[in-house]
């Protein structure tokens, strides 16, 4: 692991341009604000409205809605800017901020759970305590995952973003089951700044001021962390205690904003990054400027959302907007990181595979067959568990076989695609989900829904495949400079995933009736699959697998890196493009069936390696069989666990898959 020198090392691109940019942002925010305030209420009525003497409904909305929203955007932006700068200082990590560390998502999940279990405790203080507990737990989880490698820039953020995904999946599970009750949580959860009164402001102002006061008292000690751990300790600083204090304060700031306005991502990343660009070095100066820039950034984002969505401004969460901009920013910052932390590839590929005696493929195939029988024949009703009797089979089978087949096909395709991608990138952590391929597919499909076209299956498939291809090509282009360095690619994929969830939040919040099925689909349900679709899916799966097997010679050579591939006469560009296209098609088909987040494409190929899938053809076959098995099992479990309720198969697989991913990270 190399030390992270990039923290302050970003070449100052000149104070002038950045200050100018900040001033420009400030000016445009100001202009937009004045404009939107005057649209809502003519200027000559402002004094009356402010005095509260105007009983007109427009002026009440203006006073109790527009003005507090403005104030909250300032306060939240300021808090996030400070939290980001503080996290970055304490962790010595230029990518750290509440949303990349999983802190915001943890707070949000805690609030959703709290609202369900103890709604009466959810007064401002109760909310804050709950949010802080969730945030702190998430941070603890992330830090414990990377333990020894606290300073490994990208690993830490990777763990944070995965925890964010996981908390997000859990939240959406809760939302699905409590739809009527929690639907507003979905809007709020994505960072809505809508206010109906001054309560939030009056509560946020003193809390944030207090925390910032504490930070100000500590700023000299915190600044010493710039010198690195050992030098700071040499100067008599209690580094551990300082870190802990800094983390606690930053987490409080983050959870305060989450409990007030929901998750607003990336302001805490962007503000300190912009400040660093100016070449401001001193920590106290960085802190102050991060606060100011954070404030301006959120203010401007919120004004843009209000201006762009006009009458729907109450519904489109500002946080989704910042997340949409944050994804590309994260990719950009990552691109500038000159250090590559560790070589994941070597770590994983030297792992010994277990010696499996006999014919592992045969074992896997029989295992899958048994699972299929169980999935088709074992069920549960009010009186308990049953094998379907021969009489029942005829009535049950038409209901069960399409969805089981669809799950099988999706798992097969994801498993094969995962193996294919791991070999294409030479990266044992690659998968359609992790590399953002699934997210790209989802973006394609969501975009299609907004177009005035009938979203037929072929159109969805085309749009999905196109989205997937674009995401993958973007990633390959980005990774070219670092020779597809594993962690960079993973982060890029996660960034694409963030953009995806932001987009879907906006789509969901827009209230468009066409989006109603979106959440169920995103969670990955197989219940709506009809026989025809199931048949097509399995055919697609088999054809795709055969296609991938046809390229297995390439796939044997590609993990050895582009240099070796080229010297062996492999047509590198053509091979990569063909494989990317196949991967995108397979992922699009599978994603249409089970949603974008299942992590089957990560788990299956990885297990296949453990079971001895060294050569490509065996790796692909085993990964396909394992993927199918996992998905069939997830579908069946989803039907059974909470009977008579149903958990979508994709969600079950995610809930199993994410811990597996985190465990993998921890292994390194």
């Amino acid at each position: 692991m190399k030390d992270v020198r990039t923290h302050n090392g970003a070449a100052p691109s000149g104070k002038g341009p950045t200050l100018l940019l900040t001033a420009l942002l400030f000016a445009s925010a100001l202009v937009l604000t004045l404009w939107s305030l005057s649209v809502q209420l003519p200027i000559r009525q402002w004094p009356d409205a402010l005095g509260g003497s105007d009983p007109d409904i427009a002026s009440i909305v203006w006073r109790e809605g527009a003005l507090p929203r403005l104030a909250v955007s300032w306060l939240a932006g300021l808090a996030l800017g400070v939290a980001g700068a503080l996290f970055q200082q304490v962790l010595r990590n230029p990518l750290a901020e509440p949303s990349t560390l999983g802190v915001s998502a943890g707070a949000q999940l805690a609030l959703v759970v709290g609202t369900l279990l103890a709604p009466n405790l959810m007064n401002p203080w109760g909310r804050e305590v709950t949010a802080f507990a969730g945030a702190a737990l998430a941070l603890l989880l992330v830090l414990s995952l990377v333990r020894a490698r606290l300073l490994a820039t990208t690993t830490l953020v990777l763990a944070g973003l995965i925890v964010t995904f996981y908390a997000g999946s859990l939240s959406s599970l809760l939302v699905i089951f409590n739809h009527d009750y929690l639907q507003t949580i979905f809007i709020w959860g994505s960072g809505s700044l809508v206010q109906n009164g001054w309560d939030n402001v009056l509560y946020l102002l003193p809390s944030i001021a207090g925390i910032i006061g504490l930070i100000a008292l500590m700023h000299r000690s915190l600044a010493l962390l710039d010198l690195g751990e050992e030098a700071a300790r040499g100067l008599g600083l209690h580094v551990g205690r300082m870190r802990l204090l800094g983390l606690v304060l930053a987490t409080i700031l983050a959870s305060l904003t989450v409990s007030a306005v929901g998750v607003v991502g990336f302001v805490g990343l962007a503000a300190p990054a912009l400040v660093r660009q100016t070449g401001i070095r001193r920590f106290s100066a960085r802190l102050v400027w991060s606060a100011i820039v954070g404030c301006v950034l959120l203010w401007l984002s919120d004004q843009i959302v209000q201006a762009a969505f006009g009458s729907a401004r109450e519904l489109v969460p500002t946080g989704a907007m910042t997340a949409l901009l944050g994804g590309p920013l994260l990719i950009y910052l990552m691109h500038r990181l000159k250090t590559v932390d560790i070589n994941l590839t070597n770590a994983a590929s030297t792992a010994q595979s277990y010696r499996v005696y006999g014919r592992p493929l045969l074992w896997l195939a029989s295992f899958l067959l048994v699972l299929l029988l169980i999935a088709l024949l074992v069920g549960r009703d009010s009186s308990g568990w049953h094998w379907a009797s021969s009489g029942q089979i005829e009535t049950l089978l038409p209901w069960r076989w399409p969805r089981v087949t669809a799950a099988l096909a999706a798992g097969l395709m994801l498993g094969v695609t995962g193996a294919l991608l791991q070999r294409l990138t030479g990266n044992p952590m690659a998968s359609p989900e992790v590399l953002g391929l699934s997210s790209g597919v989802a973006i394609g499909i969501v975009v299609l829904l907004t177009l005035p076209i009938v979203p037929s299956r072929p159109a969805q498939l085309g749009a999905g495949a196109l989205g997937g291809c674009l995401a993958m090509l973007l990633l390959l282009l980005l990774g070219r400079r670092s020779d597809l360095a594993p962690e960079q690619m993973l982060l890029g994929g996660v960034a694409i995933g963030t953009a995806m969830s932001a987009l879907t939040s906006i789509a969901m919040a827009s209230g468009d009736p066409r989006m109603s099925g979106l959440l169920t689909w995103l969670a990955g349900s197989t219940w709506s699959v009809d026989p025809q679709t199931a048949l097509l899916a399995i055919i697609a799966g088999v054809v795709g697998t055969v296609g991938a097997l046809g390229m297995c010679r390439w796939l044997d050579i590609l993990p050895l890196g582009p240099a070796t591939a080229q010297t062996l006469g492999l047509p590198l560009v053509r091979a990569r493009l063909l494989l990317v296209a196949l991967a995108a098609l397979l992922t699009a088909t599978a994603t249409l069936l089970v949603g974008p987040l299942s992590f089957v494409g990560l788990m299956a190929p990885h297990m296949a390696r453990f079971l001895g899938g060294r050569l490509a053809w065996r790796h692909l076959c085993m990964a396909g069989l394992l993927g199918a098995a996992i998905m069939v099992a997830a579908d069946w479990l989803g039907r059974m666990i909470l009977f008579p309720y149903e958990i979508p198969a994709g969600l079950v697989a995610t809930l199993i898959g994410t811990p597996y991913l985190l465990w993998l990270l921890r292994q390194r």
């Binding site: 590839t345 595979s353 240099a563 080229q566 010297t567 060294r614």
Partner: protein
């Protein structure tokens, strides 16, 4: 894609018989930094040619150009009278094999499986792995004394053993030209001698042409027929080891005061830093 029939070197050969690589006034500029400037070189069949020079002198860049891993900014490179670009992927791979500086992790492959990948240029993406292919793999293992590693995971081998397995893969590729980029950089002294002796033997027994980047001047002088020295992207010396191993010349190459003594056994020149 089958190779068009072609004489090894045609009658209208403008650079004389036996010339494999003909490099003419090649420049490489990366991010406004000149890596190679006006490099011209003709490489004959059957030579063991060593590229020497200090870090950043451009020797790795030059060998990567020959391996078609990157392209020159200006100038031309001909291989067997055809420009490099005119060669098909697999046709070129049947002629020229390249070993990168740090062979990548082999992803759990066993020795034999890795060596078998060297047959790709001959059977392609869909062709059958024939008896002939099997024979070449076994030959390559035998020739490099790596048969004992055939059933072991390559990633578990030591640095020197791994290097030999990779050389075996290059052998299985059955190319007539080997480009080796610092094949000994990660090895201890015993393994360095081991690998270079192997390289020299292969060159003699199979009439291979070998172009090798080497760091250590004494190793280079001992194992190569011809040494080409680069400094700041230019060729500053091009001679036999005997004539190049003079203190004045070496000072020019390495920018260090160097001296020469003769080896107590055999008498060949040994360079040392003064």
């Amino acid at each position: 894609m089958s190779a068009p029939p072609m004489a090894p070197y045609a009658a209208e050969d403008r650079t004389g018989p036996g010339i494999l690589f003909d490099i003419e006034r090649v420049n490489v500029v990366l991010e406004r930094r000149t890596i190679l400037s006006s490099v011209s070189l003709a490489i004959k069949r059957g030579q063991v040619l060593g590229l020497i020079g200090h870090n950043g002198s451009g020797k790795s860049t030059l060998i990567r150009l020959l391996a078609r891993q990157s392209r020159p900014t200006a100038g031309s490179i001909h291989f067997l009278n055809r420009t490099l670009d005119a060669w098909g992927h697999r046709d070129f791979a049947r002629q020229v094999a390249y070993l990168p500086q740090l062979p990548p992790a082999a992803g759990g492959l066993l020795g034999r499986e890795l060596v078998a990948l060297g047959r790709f240029p001959w059977h392609g993406a869909l062709g059958r792995f024939t008896l002939d292919d099997h024979r070449h793999v076994e030959d390559a293992l035998a020739m490099t004394d790596t048969a004992i590693f055939a059933d072991r995971a390559v990633d578990t081998l030591s640095g020197g053993e791994r290097q030999r397995v990779w050389l075996a893969m290059l052998m299985a590729q059955n190319a007539s030209v080997l480009l080796l980029d610092e094949p000994t950089s990660a090895l201890d002294l015993a393994h360095q001698v081991d690998v270079l002796t192997l390289v020299q033997r292969l060159a003699r027994e199979r009439g291979l042409t070998i172009i090798v980047v080497l760091h250590e001047i004494n190793m280079a002088a001992r194992f190569c027929d011809r040494l080409v020295a680069l400094r700041a992207g230019r060729i500053i010396e091009d001679d036999t080891p005997q004539r190049l191993m003079r203190s004045v010349t070496l000072e020019r190459v390495f920018g260090l005061p160097m001296g020469i003594i003769s080896h107590p056994e055999g008498g060949h020149p040994i360079a040392y830093v003064r």
